[in-house]
């Protein structure tokens, strides 16, 4: 049939050589230009965009970590200072205690020393008094005896007055003596 013949002459499945050649060259050039200049730019921009977003997140994380670290450091420092202050206070208290104890010991020692010296003095004065008494008692007794013997022994009232006045003389010596010793 002529229809079949016509179809054979104009078979749409038969390619045109010129088209194939031009098409391949056109596509090849197109691919070459795009792959060399355009798509790397796109990929670069995608990468930059991703980097910008992820980088921002990362930077925020880093800042937070840094803040955390500094806070930790500050806390540590604070705790250290607190411990230091407590230590200093304890030291001061201990030192004060020690100083107090030392002062007390010193004062006690001083007091003991003063007391000892006072006792010594008292002893010495007493000895001196005893010594002077011992020296005086003889003469006094002798004087008293002389006066008694010299006056009338029969009058008891005179006798007792004599004794009293003598003793009063002695008292005046006695009452003067201790104030001088102190």
């Amino acid at each position: 049939m002529d229809i079949v013949l016509a179809a054979e002459q104009l078979n749409p499945l038969v390619p045109h050589t010129v088209e194939i050649v031009v098409g391949l060259i056109a596509f090849g050039l197109l691919y070459w230009v795009l792959a060399k200049t355009v798509f790397p730019q796109f990929e670069k921009i995608y990468a930059e965009r991703t980097d910008k977003i992820e980088g921002g997140l990362k930077r925020a994380e880093e800042a937070q970590a840094e803040a955390q670290r500094i806070k930790q450091q500050y806390d540590d420092q604070l705790a250290g200072l607190r411990a230091e202050a407590a230590r200093i206070r304890d030291d001061a208290r201990a030192e004060g205690q020690q100083i107090k104890a030392e002062l007390r010991a010193d004062a006690e020692a001083e007091a003991a020393r003063i007391r000892a010296r006072a006792e010594e003095q008292i002893l010495a004065q007493r000895e001196a008094a005893v010594r002077s008494l011992r020296a005086e008692v003889g003469s006094l007794a002798t004087q008293l005896a002389e006066r008694i013997i010299g006056s009338e022994l029969s009058d008891p009232a005179r006798r007792s007055a004599t004794v009293d006045s003598f003793l009063q003389e002695l008292d005046g010596v006695d009452s003067r003596q201790p104030t001088g010793a102190n």
């Binding site: 038969v14 050039l29 796109f42 921009i45």
Partner: protein
């Protein structure tokens, strides 16, 4: 068509294969040849405009270029190829853009001829794709591994294998490029024929036919022509998408570690 044939005026010559035989413009250069060159120029110029001043916050043209690239990169290549998809994204994007522009020539006024309703370039592109996925497969698995992955599905009893292996061989190694190119060609061819039928038919009804009824009805033919123009726009985009999608999926299957 029977109505038209009964008209006493010269019968309606339905558009056919001969409408696709375009006269040369000069030398061997015909309209599709010019369209091929024009398509390449358009794609290159548009993409160069998109990256003229690359910025992190994209301008309008840059955003369009990035979206186009991003569709091929993220929803075709990444899903179909797997972890090594980045190497193939430039090829797939260039292929998609080239085919899309050439297809859309079918409905762009004054050009109105889909380049790929001539089968030459689809053949060439499909052959290119075949070479690429074969080379990728052989490089990735070795010749034996590539053949095993393409023809030797695992866990199949031997008596099924007798039938299955030749079928797999034919469908995976021989028919893949054939169907890839012919699908594109066939859709463009049929779509253009459809538009021709409506427009030429309407023209015939309006100007040539004697019947007044046909003259009155002719606007409907033109209306259908417009409706089918939109349909063709859709088909053209879808065919470009499917071509790239299948290319990516073929590369993906030869890269996969099991069948």
């Amino acid at each position: 068509m029977t109505t038209m044939a009964t008209a006493p005026a010269p019968g309606f010559e339905a558009p056919g294969v001969e409408d696709f035989q375009l006269p040369p413009i000069f030398g061997p250069v015909t309209k599709p040849v010019l369209e091929l060159a024009l398509a390449a120029i358009i794609v290159v110029v548009l993409f160069r405009l998109a990256v003229r001043k690359p910025q992190l916050v994209p301008s309008k043209t840059q955003f369009l270029g990035e979206s186009f690239h991003g569709i091929v990169r993220n929803s075709i290549a990444k899903d179909m190829i797997g972890p090594e998809f980045l190497r193939y994204v430039p090829f797939l994007t260039a292929l998609f853009a080239f085919i899309l522009v050439n297809n859309l020539f079918g409905i762009i006024p004054f050009i109105q001829f889909p380049t790929f309703s001539h089968p030459g370039v689809p053949y060439a592109l499909a052959l290119l794709v075949w070479v690429i996925f074969t080379v990728v497969g052989i490089r990735h698995h070795g010749l034996g591994g590539y053949l095993r992955i393409s023809t030797w599905p695992p866990d199949v009893p031997w008596w099924v294998r007798i039938i299955l292996t030749p079928i797999e061989f034919i469908s995976n190694i021989i028919l893949r490029p054939v169907t890839l190119s012919l699908r594109l060609f066939g859709n463009m061819f049929a779509g253009h024929l459809l538009l021709l039928l409506f427009i030429l038919g309407g023209q015939y009804m309006l100007f040539t036919a004697d019947s007044i009824l046909l003259k009155i009805l002719s606007p409907f033919a033109f209306l259908m022509g417009i409706v089918f123009t939109f349909f063709e726009a859709f088909v053209q985009v879808v065919q470009a998408y499917i071509f790239v999608m299948l290319t990516a999926s073929y590369i993906g299957t030869v890269l996969a570690d099991d069948h």
